[in-house]
Protein backbone atom coordinates (compact mmCIF):
# COMPACT_ATOMS: atom_id res chain seq x y z
CA UNK A 1 0.00 0.00 0.00
CA UNK A 2 1.19 3.51 -0.68
CA UNK A 3 3.39 4.96 1.98
CA UNK A 4 2.12 8.41 1.24
CA UNK A 5 -1.52 7.84 2.01
CA UNK A 6 -1.40 5.25 4.77
CA UNK A 7 1.32 4.05 7.06
CA UNK A 8 0.20 0.45 7.00
CA UNK A 9 2.84 -1.47 8.86
CA UNK A 10 3.66 -5.00 7.70
CA UNK A 11 2.68 -6.53 11.02
CA UNK A 12 -0.98 -5.69 10.62
CA UNK A 13 -1.38 -6.48 6.92
CA UNK A 14 -4.52 -8.61 6.76
CA UNK A 15 -4.02 -12.16 5.56
CA UNK A 16 -6.42 -13.58 3.02
CA UNK A 17 -6.71 -12.48 -0.58
CA UNK A 18 -3.76 -10.39 -1.69
CA UNK A 19 -4.38 -7.28 -3.77
CA UNK A 20 -0.78 -6.33 -4.49
CA UNK A 21 -1.37 -6.84 -8.18
CA UNK A 22 -4.67 -4.95 -8.38
CA UNK A 23 -3.05 -1.86 -9.86
CA UNK A 24 -1.04 -3.88 -12.35
CA UNK A 25 -4.21 -5.71 -13.44
CA UNK A 26 -6.11 -2.49 -14.12
CA UNK A 27 -3.13 -1.23 -16.14
CA UNK A 28 -3.08 -4.46 -18.19
CA UNK A 29 -6.82 -4.22 -18.85
CA UNK A 30 -6.54 -0.63 -20.01
CA UNK A 31 -3.55 -1.44 -22.20
CA UNK A 32 -5.33 -4.46 -23.69
CA UNK A 33 -8.44 -2.44 -24.49
CA UNK A 34 -6.46 0.18 -26.36
CA UNK A 35 -4.38 -2.26 -28.38
CA UNK A 36 -6.96 -5.07 -28.87
CA UNK A 37 -4.68 -7.61 -27.27
CA UNK A 38 -6.12 -10.88 -25.97
CA UNK A 39 -6.34 -11.00 -22.19
CA UNK A 40 -5.57 -14.28 -20.41
CA UNK A 41 -8.84 -15.73 -19.12
CA UNK A 42 -9.37 -17.61 -15.92
CA UNK A 43 -10.38 -21.21 -16.44
CA UNK A 44 -14.15 -21.41 -16.14
CA UNK A 45 -16.44 -24.35 -16.05
CA UNK A 46 -19.12 -23.27 -18.51
CA UNK A 47 -21.04 -26.18 -17.32
CA UNK A 48 -24.07 -28.28 -16.88
CA UNK A 49 -24.66 -29.29 -13.27
CA UNK A 50 -27.90 -30.82 -12.02
CA UNK A 51 -29.40 -32.24 -8.87
CA UNK A 52 -32.67 -33.91 -8.02
CA UNK A 53 -34.43 -35.53 -5.08
CA UNK A 54 -35.85 -39.02 -5.52
CA UNK A 55 -37.57 -41.48 -3.20
CA UNK A 56 -34.49 -42.69 -1.37
CA UNK A 57 -32.09 -39.72 -1.53
CA UNK A 58 -30.55 -37.29 -4.03
CA UNK A 59 -28.74 -37.66 -7.33
CA UNK A 60 -26.17 -35.07 -8.48
CA UNK A 61 -24.81 -34.92 -12.01
CA UNK A 62 -22.18 -32.86 -13.84
CA UNK A 63 -20.32 -32.75 -17.14
CA UNK A 64 -16.51 -32.77 -17.25
CA UNK A 65 -15.34 -29.94 -19.50
CA UNK A 66 -13.36 -26.92 -18.27
CA UNK A 67 -12.84 -24.03 -20.69
CA UNK A 68 -10.38 -21.14 -20.76
CA UNK A 69 -11.91 -18.63 -23.13
CA UNK A 70 -12.82 -20.55 -26.26
CA UNK A 71 -10.46 -23.47 -25.82
CA UNK A 72 -11.00 -26.59 -23.76
CA UNK A 73 -8.63 -26.44 -20.81
CA UNK A 74 -9.49 -29.82 -19.32
CA UNK A 75 -11.45 -32.65 -20.93
CA UNK A 76 -12.04 -34.64 -17.78
CA UNK A 77 -12.27 -32.39 -14.76
CA UNK A 78 -14.16 -33.22 -11.57
CA UNK A 79 -17.03 -30.92 -10.80
CA UNK A 80 -18.67 -32.86 -7.99
CA UNK A 81 -16.81 -31.93 -4.81
CA UNK A 82 -16.87 -33.59 -1.42
CA UNK A 83 -18.24 -31.51 1.46
CA UNK A 84 -19.11 -34.06 4.15
CA UNK A 85 -19.63 -37.84 4.19
CA UNK A 86 -23.31 -37.20 3.47
CA UNK A 87 -23.08 -33.99 1.43
CA UNK A 88 -21.63 -33.35 -2.04
CA UNK A 89 -21.60 -30.17 -4.09
CA UNK A 90 -21.43 -29.52 -7.85
CA UNK A 91 -19.73 -26.29 -8.90
CA UNK A 92 -20.02 -24.01 -11.94
CA UNK A 93 -18.19 -20.74 -12.61
CA UNK A 94 -14.49 -20.07 -12.20
CA UNK A 95 -12.91 -23.47 -11.57
CA UNK A 96 -10.49 -22.30 -8.85
CA UNK A 97 -13.25 -20.44 -7.01
CA UNK A 98 -15.58 -23.43 -6.84
CA UNK A 99 -12.75 -25.75 -5.85
CA UNK A 100 -11.40 -23.60 -3.03
CA UNK A 101 -14.82 -22.51 -1.79
CA UNK A 102 -16.05 -26.06 -1.43
CA UNK A 103 -12.80 -27.13 0.22
CA UNK A 104 -13.03 -24.27 2.71
CA UNK A 105 -16.64 -24.99 3.63
CA UNK A 106 -15.80 -28.69 3.88
CA UNK A 107 -13.12 -27.80 6.46
CA UNK A 108 -15.54 -25.60 8.35
CA UNK A 109 -18.09 -28.41 8.42
CA UNK A 110 -15.47 -30.78 9.77
CA UNK A 111 -14.57 -28.31 12.53
CA UNK A 112 -18.23 -28.02 13.39
CA UNK A 113 -18.62 -31.81 13.45
CA UNK A 114 -15.71 -32.05 15.85
CA UNK A 115 -17.25 -29.36 18.01
CA UNK A 116 -20.81 -30.71 18.12
CA UNK A 117 -20.25 -34.42 17.62
CA UNK A 118 -23.19 -34.66 15.22
CA UNK A 119 -23.60 -35.35 11.52
CA UNK A 120 -23.53 -32.27 9.27
CA UNK A 121 -26.80 -30.97 7.90
CA UNK A 122 -27.21 -29.76 4.32
CA UNK A 123 -28.77 -26.49 5.47
CA UNK A 124 -25.63 -25.78 7.52
CA UNK A 125 -23.43 -26.13 4.45
CA UNK A 126 -25.85 -23.95 2.49
CA UNK A 127 -25.81 -21.21 5.14
CA UNK A 128 -22.03 -21.21 5.39
CA UNK A 129 -21.70 -21.00 1.60
CA UNK A 130 -24.18 -18.17 1.19
CA UNK A 131 -22.65 -16.16 4.01
CA UNK A 132 -19.21 -16.44 2.47
CA UNK A 133 -20.35 -15.67 -1.07
CA UNK A 134 -22.35 -12.64 0.05
CA UNK A 135 -19.40 -11.35 2.04
CA UNK A 136 -17.34 -11.24 -1.17
CA UNK A 137 -20.17 -9.53 -3.06
CA UNK A 138 -20.17 -11.89 -6.04
CA UNK A 139 -16.47 -11.49 -6.82
CA UNK A 140 -16.07 -15.17 -6.03
CA UNK A 141 -17.72 -16.60 -9.10
CA UNK A 142 -19.08 -19.88 -7.80
CA UNK A 143 -22.55 -21.17 -8.71
CA UNK A 144 -23.25 -24.38 -6.80
CA UNK A 145 -25.75 -27.19 -6.59
CA UNK A 146 -25.54 -28.62 -3.09
CA UNK A 147 -27.12 -31.96 -2.29
CA UNK A 148 -27.13 -34.42 0.56
CA UNK A 149 -29.10 -36.44 3.07
CA UNK A 150 -29.28 -35.71 6.78
CA UNK A 151 -31.64 -36.35 9.71
CA UNK A 152 -34.34 -34.30 8.00
CA UNK A 153 -34.21 -36.26 4.76
CA UNK A 154 -32.79 -35.56 1.29
CA UNK A 155 -32.25 -31.92 0.20
CA UNK A 156 -31.09 -30.05 -2.91
CA UNK A 157 -30.06 -26.40 -2.77
CA UNK A 158 -28.95 -24.05 -5.53
CA UNK A 159 -26.54 -21.26 -4.62
CA UNK A 160 -25.75 -18.28 -6.85
CA UNK A 161 -22.45 -16.33 -6.83
CA UNK A 162 -23.92 -13.33 -5.06
CA UNK A 163 -25.22 -15.42 -2.20
CA UNK A 164 -28.88 -16.09 -2.97
CA UNK A 165 -30.11 -19.64 -2.49
CA UNK A 166 -33.11 -21.72 -3.35
CA UNK A 167 -34.32 -25.02 -1.95
CA UNK A 168 -35.88 -27.11 -4.70
CA UNK A 169 -36.77 -30.70 -5.57
CA UNK A 170 -34.71 -30.48 -8.76
CA UNK A 171 -32.40 -27.82 -10.18
CA UNK A 172 -29.84 -27.13 -12.88
CA UNK A 173 -27.06 -24.51 -13.08
CA UNK A 174 -24.39 -23.44 -15.51
CA UNK A 175 -24.39 -22.51 -19.17
CA UNK A 176 -26.15 -25.74 -20.12
CA UNK A 177 -28.81 -25.33 -17.45
CA UNK A 178 -31.62 -24.58 -19.87
CA UNK A 179 -30.97 -27.67 -21.95
CA UNK A 180 -30.82 -29.81 -18.80
CA UNK A 181 -33.87 -28.18 -17.24
CA UNK A 182 -35.97 -28.95 -20.30
CA UNK A 183 -35.29 -32.65 -19.71
CA UNK A 184 -36.09 -32.35 -16.01
CA UNK A 185 -39.33 -30.49 -16.56
CA UNK A 186 -40.52 -33.23 -18.89
CA UNK A 187 -39.33 -36.19 -16.89
CA UNK A 188 -39.29 -35.43 -13.15
CA UNK A 189 -42.01 -36.82 -10.91
CA UNK A 190 -42.17 -36.97 -7.16
CA UNK A 191 -40.95 -40.19 -5.54
CA UNK A 192 -38.95 -41.64 -8.45
CA UNK A 193 -37.02 -44.88 -8.16
CA UNK A 194 -33.22 -44.79 -8.11
CA UNK A 195 -32.74 -46.30 -11.56
CA UNK A 196 -35.11 -43.82 -13.18
CA UNK A 197 -33.61 -40.91 -11.28
CA UNK A 198 -30.06 -41.74 -12.39
CA UNK A 199 -31.19 -42.19 -16.01
CA UNK A 200 -32.98 -38.85 -15.93
CA UNK A 201 -29.89 -37.09 -14.57
CA UNK A 202 -27.70 -38.68 -17.24
CA UNK A 203 -30.11 -37.65 -20.02
CA UNK A 204 -30.19 -34.08 -18.77
CA UNK A 205 -26.39 -33.85 -18.59
CA UNK A 206 -26.12 -35.28 -22.11
CA UNK A 207 -28.61 -32.63 -23.26
CA UNK A 208 -26.21 -30.02 -21.89
CA UNK A 209 -23.15 -31.78 -23.34
CA UNK A 210 -24.53 -31.88 -26.88
CA UNK A 211 -26.35 -28.55 -27.01
CA UNK A 212 -24.01 -26.23 -25.12
CA UNK A 213 -20.48 -25.36 -26.15
CA UNK A 214 -19.36 -24.76 -22.59
CA UNK A 215 -20.22 -28.32 -21.53
CA UNK A 216 -18.81 -31.50 -22.94
CA UNK A 217 -17.00 -34.82 -22.58
CA UNK A 218 -18.41 -37.18 -19.98
CA UNK A 219 -21.13 -37.27 -17.36
CA UNK A 220 -20.37 -37.88 -13.67
CA UNK A 221 -23.09 -38.87 -11.24
CA UNK A 222 -23.25 -39.06 -7.48
CA UNK A 223 -26.04 -40.85 -5.63
CA UNK A 224 -26.44 -40.02 -1.92
CA UNK A 225 -28.98 -42.22 -0.19
CA UNK A 226 -30.88 -41.57 3.02
CA UNK A 227 -29.34 -44.66 4.61
CA UNK A 228 -25.94 -42.92 4.40
CA UNK A 229 -24.35 -44.70 1.45
CA UNK A 230 -22.79 -42.68 -1.37
CA UNK A 231 -22.06 -43.89 -4.89
CA UNK A 232 -19.85 -41.50 -6.87
CA UNK A 233 -19.48 -42.72 -10.46
CA UNK A 234 -16.86 -40.89 -12.45
CA UNK A 235 -17.56 -41.19 -16.16
CA UNK A 236 -20.97 -42.81 -15.80
CA UNK A 237 -21.65 -42.03 -19.47
CA UNK A 238 -18.79 -41.36 -21.89
CA UNK A 239 -20.25 -40.43 -25.28
CA UNK A 240 -17.15 -38.51 -26.38
CA UNK A 241 -14.41 -41.11 -26.38
CA UNK A 242 -11.36 -39.86 -28.30
CA UNK A 243 -9.43 -43.14 -28.32
CA UNK A 244 -11.14 -44.62 -31.45
CA UNK A 245 -10.37 -41.41 -33.34
CA UNK A 246 -6.75 -41.44 -32.23
CA UNK A 247 -6.38 -45.11 -33.14
CA UNK A 248 -7.68 -44.40 -36.63
CA UNK A 249 -4.74 -42.11 -37.39
CA UNK A 250 -2.09 -43.92 -39.46
CA UNK A 251 1.32 -43.43 -37.90
CA UNK A 252 4.17 -44.50 -40.15
CA UNK A 253 6.35 -47.28 -38.72
CA UNK A 254 9.43 -45.34 -39.77
CA UNK A 255 8.67 -42.80 -37.04
CA UNK A 256 9.02 -45.45 -34.32
CA UNK A 257 12.75 -45.97 -34.02
CA UNK A 258 13.65 -48.14 -31.08
CA UNK A 259 17.16 -48.85 -29.85
CA UNK A 260 19.09 -51.05 -32.29
CA UNK A 261 17.74 -49.38 -35.46
CA UNK A 262 21.18 -48.03 -36.28
CA UNK A 263 23.94 -50.65 -36.41
CA UNK A 264 26.93 -49.90 -34.11
CA UNK A 265 30.19 -50.34 -36.02
CA UNK A 266 32.83 -49.42 -33.43
CA UNK A 267 32.99 -48.18 -29.79
CA UNK A 268 35.86 -46.13 -28.33
CA UNK A 269 35.87 -44.80 -24.75
CA UNK A 270 38.44 -42.23 -23.61
CA UNK A 271 38.25 -41.27 -19.90
CA UNK A 272 39.13 -37.73 -18.97
CA UNK A 273 42.17 -37.54 -16.73
CA UNK A 274 42.19 -35.12 -13.80
CA UNK A 275 45.44 -35.12 -11.86
CA UNK A 276 46.10 -33.14 -8.74
CA UNK A 277 49.45 -31.95 -10.13
CA UNK A 278 47.55 -29.65 -12.43
CA UNK A 279 46.10 -27.74 -9.49
CA UNK A 280 48.19 -24.87 -8.12
CA UNK A 281 47.41 -23.20 -4.79
CA UNK A 282 47.98 -19.48 -4.58
CA UNK A 283 47.70 -17.79 -1.23
CA UNK A 284 45.36 -14.88 -1.08
CA UNK A 285 46.93 -11.62 -0.11
CA UNK A 286 44.83 -9.40 2.13
Amino acid sequence: MSEITKSLNPDTKPSGFSFDNAHRNTMIEQAAMSSNAILPMATKTGTTIVGLVYKGGVVLGADTRATGGSEVAEKNCEKIHYMAPNIYCCGAGTAADTEKTTELISSQLELLRMNTGKESRVVTACTMLKRMLFRYQGHISAALVLGGCDVNGPHIYQIYPHGSTGKLPYTTMGSGSLAAMSVFETGWTEGMEEGDAVKLVQRSILAGVFNDLGSGSNCDTCVIRTDGTVQYTRGAVTPNETQPLRDAINHSDRLNMGPGTTVVLDTKFTPRKVSLEDVTVTEMET
Binding site: S2, E3, N9, P14, F17, H23, N115
Partner: protein
Amino acid sequence: MDTMEGATEIPMMKSPANVMEAGPNGNNLATAASRVHPVDQLQRAEAESTGGFLDLDGVRRLYGSGLAMRLATERRMASQVGGRLPGLETPESNAMLDTLTGNDLKIDFGDFLSRNENAPDMGVSDPHAAMARKLGL
Protein backbone atom coordinates in the same frame (compact mmCIF):
# COMPACT_ATOMS: atom_id res chain seq x y z
CA MET B 1 -13.28 4.13 13.73
CA ASP B 2 -9.63 4.03 12.75
CA THR B 3 -10.39 3.66 9.06
CA MET B 4 -12.69 6.67 9.12
CA GLU B 5 -9.96 8.83 10.61
CA GLY B 6 -7.41 7.45 8.17
CA ALA B 7 -9.56 8.39 5.22
CA THR B 8 -9.76 12.07 6.12
CA GLU B 9 -6.24 12.74 7.31
CA ILE B 10 -3.94 14.72 5.08
CA PRO B 11 -1.66 12.43 3.08
CA MET B 12 1.83 12.74 4.48
CA MET B 13 5.07 11.32 3.23
CA LYS B 14 6.28 9.21 6.12
CA SER B 15 9.31 7.73 4.41
CA PRO B 16 10.91 7.98 0.95
CA ALA B 17 9.07 5.96 -1.66
CA ASN B 18 10.63 2.53 -2.15
CA VAL B 19 10.80 2.45 -5.93
CA MET B 20 12.26 -1.06 -6.05
CA GLU B 21 9.29 -2.47 -4.19
CA ALA B 22 6.42 -0.45 -5.55
CA GLY B 23 7.57 0.44 -9.06
CA PRO B 24 8.14 3.90 -10.57
CA ASN B 25 4.47 4.81 -10.47
CA GLY B 26 3.45 2.69 -7.54
CA ASN B 27 3.40 5.14 -4.69
CA ASN B 28 1.69 8.31 -5.88
CA LEU B 29 -1.82 9.42 -5.08
CA ALA B 30 -3.19 8.66 -8.54
CA THR B 31 -2.34 4.99 -8.40
CA ALA B 32 -3.41 4.71 -4.79
CA ALA B 33 -6.82 6.04 -5.77
CA SER B 34 -7.19 3.73 -8.75
CA ARG B 35 -6.12 0.46 -7.21
CA VAL B 36 -8.82 0.14 -4.59
CA HIS B 37 -10.67 -3.14 -5.03
CA PRO B 38 -13.97 -3.48 -3.14
CA VAL B 39 -13.00 -6.85 -1.74
CA ASP B 40 -9.73 -5.38 -0.52
CA GLN B 41 -11.64 -2.75 1.45
CA LEU B 42 -13.98 -5.38 2.86
CA GLN B 43 -11.06 -7.51 3.96
CA ARG B 44 -9.27 -4.65 5.70
CA ALA B 45 -12.42 -3.48 7.45
CA GLU B 46 -13.13 -7.00 8.60
CA ALA B 47 -9.63 -7.52 9.91
CA GLU B 48 -9.98 -4.45 12.11
CA SER B 49 -13.43 -5.24 13.49
CA THR B 50 -14.25 -7.72 16.26
CA GLY B 51 -16.15 -9.86 13.80
CA GLY B 52 -19.52 -9.36 15.41
CA PHE B 53 -18.67 -11.72 18.21
CA LEU B 54 -18.61 -9.06 20.89
CA ASP B 55 -21.38 -6.51 20.70
CA LEU B 56 -20.30 -4.39 23.64
CA ASP B 57 -23.12 -1.93 23.26
CA GLY B 58 -25.74 -4.67 23.31
CA VAL B 59 -24.13 -6.29 26.33
CA ARG B 60 -24.09 -2.97 28.13
CA ARG B 61 -27.81 -2.44 27.56
CA LEU B 62 -28.82 -5.96 28.55
CA TYR B 63 -26.45 -6.89 31.34
CA GLY B 64 -25.06 -3.60 32.56
CA SER B 65 -21.85 -1.72 32.03
CA GLY B 66 -19.99 -3.89 34.54
CA LEU B 67 -20.12 -6.97 32.37
CA ALA B 68 -19.29 -4.94 29.26
CA MET B 69 -16.18 -3.54 30.95
CA ARG B 70 -15.20 -6.97 32.19
CA LEU B 71 -15.47 -8.50 28.72
CA ALA B 72 -13.53 -5.67 27.08
CA THR B 73 -10.79 -5.88 29.71
CA GLU B 74 -10.59 -9.63 29.27
CA ARG B 75 -10.14 -9.22 25.53
CA ARG B 76 -7.48 -6.54 25.91
CA MET B 77 -5.57 -8.67 28.39
CA ALA B 78 -5.79 -11.67 26.08
CA SER B 79 -4.18 -9.73 23.24
CA GLN B 80 -1.33 -8.60 25.52
CA VAL B 81 -0.55 -11.92 27.13
CA GLY B 82 2.27 -14.00 25.69
CA GLY B 83 4.88 -11.32 25.75
CA ARG B 84 6.79 -12.35 22.64
CA LEU B 85 8.90 -9.65 21.06
CA PRO B 86 7.42 -8.55 17.73
CA GLY B 87 9.05 -9.47 14.47
CA LEU B 88 10.72 -12.66 15.65
CA GLU B 89 10.50 -16.07 13.97
CA THR B 90 7.93 -17.64 16.27
CA PRO B 91 4.57 -15.90 16.01
CA GLU B 92 2.30 -15.43 19.00
CA SER B 93 0.02 -18.36 19.70
CA ASN B 94 -2.93 -16.18 20.74
CA ALA B 95 -4.64 -19.14 22.38
CA MET B 96 -6.69 -17.07 24.84
CA LEU B 97 -7.62 -14.47 22.25
CA ASP B 98 -8.69 -17.17 19.78
CA THR B 99 -10.92 -18.79 22.38
CA LEU B 100 -12.55 -15.47 23.29
CA THR B 101 -13.17 -14.37 19.72
CA GLY B 102 -14.20 -17.83 18.52
CA ASN B 103 -11.31 -18.00 16.07
CA ASP B 104 -10.34 -21.50 17.20
CA LEU B 105 -13.62 -22.83 15.80
CA LYS B 106 -13.37 -21.07 12.46
CA ILE B 107 -11.26 -21.51 9.36
CA ASP B 108 -11.27 -18.90 6.63
CA PHE B 109 -9.28 -17.74 3.60
CA GLY B 110 -7.03 -15.75 5.92
CA ASP B 111 -5.82 -18.94 7.57
CA PHE B 112 -4.09 -20.30 4.51
CA LEU B 113 -3.78 -17.48 1.95
CA SER B 114 -1.18 -14.69 2.18
CA ARG B 115 -0.02 -15.52 5.66
CA ASN B 116 2.48 -13.01 7.01
CA GLU B 117 4.99 -15.73 7.82
CA ASN B 118 4.91 -16.90 4.19
CA ALA B 119 5.34 -13.43 2.70
CA PRO B 120 8.49 -12.98 0.59
CA ASP B 121 9.40 -9.79 2.46
CA MET B 122 12.75 -9.20 4.00
CA GLY B 123 11.62 -9.81 7.55
CA VAL B 124 11.56 -7.36 10.43
CA SER B 125 12.68 -3.95 9.25
CA ASP B 126 13.59 -2.52 12.61
CA PRO B 127 12.95 -4.27 15.93
CA HIS B 128 12.82 -0.94 17.78
CA ALA B 129 10.16 0.43 15.44
CA ALA B 130 8.20 -2.81 15.67
CA MET B 131 8.23 -2.67 19.48
CA ALA B 132 7.22 0.98 19.41
CA ARG B 133 4.28 0.12 17.13
CA LYS B 134 3.26 -2.69 19.44
CA LEU B 135 3.28 -0.44 22.49
CA GLY B 136 1.47 2.26 20.56
CA LEU B 137 4.12 4.92 21.04
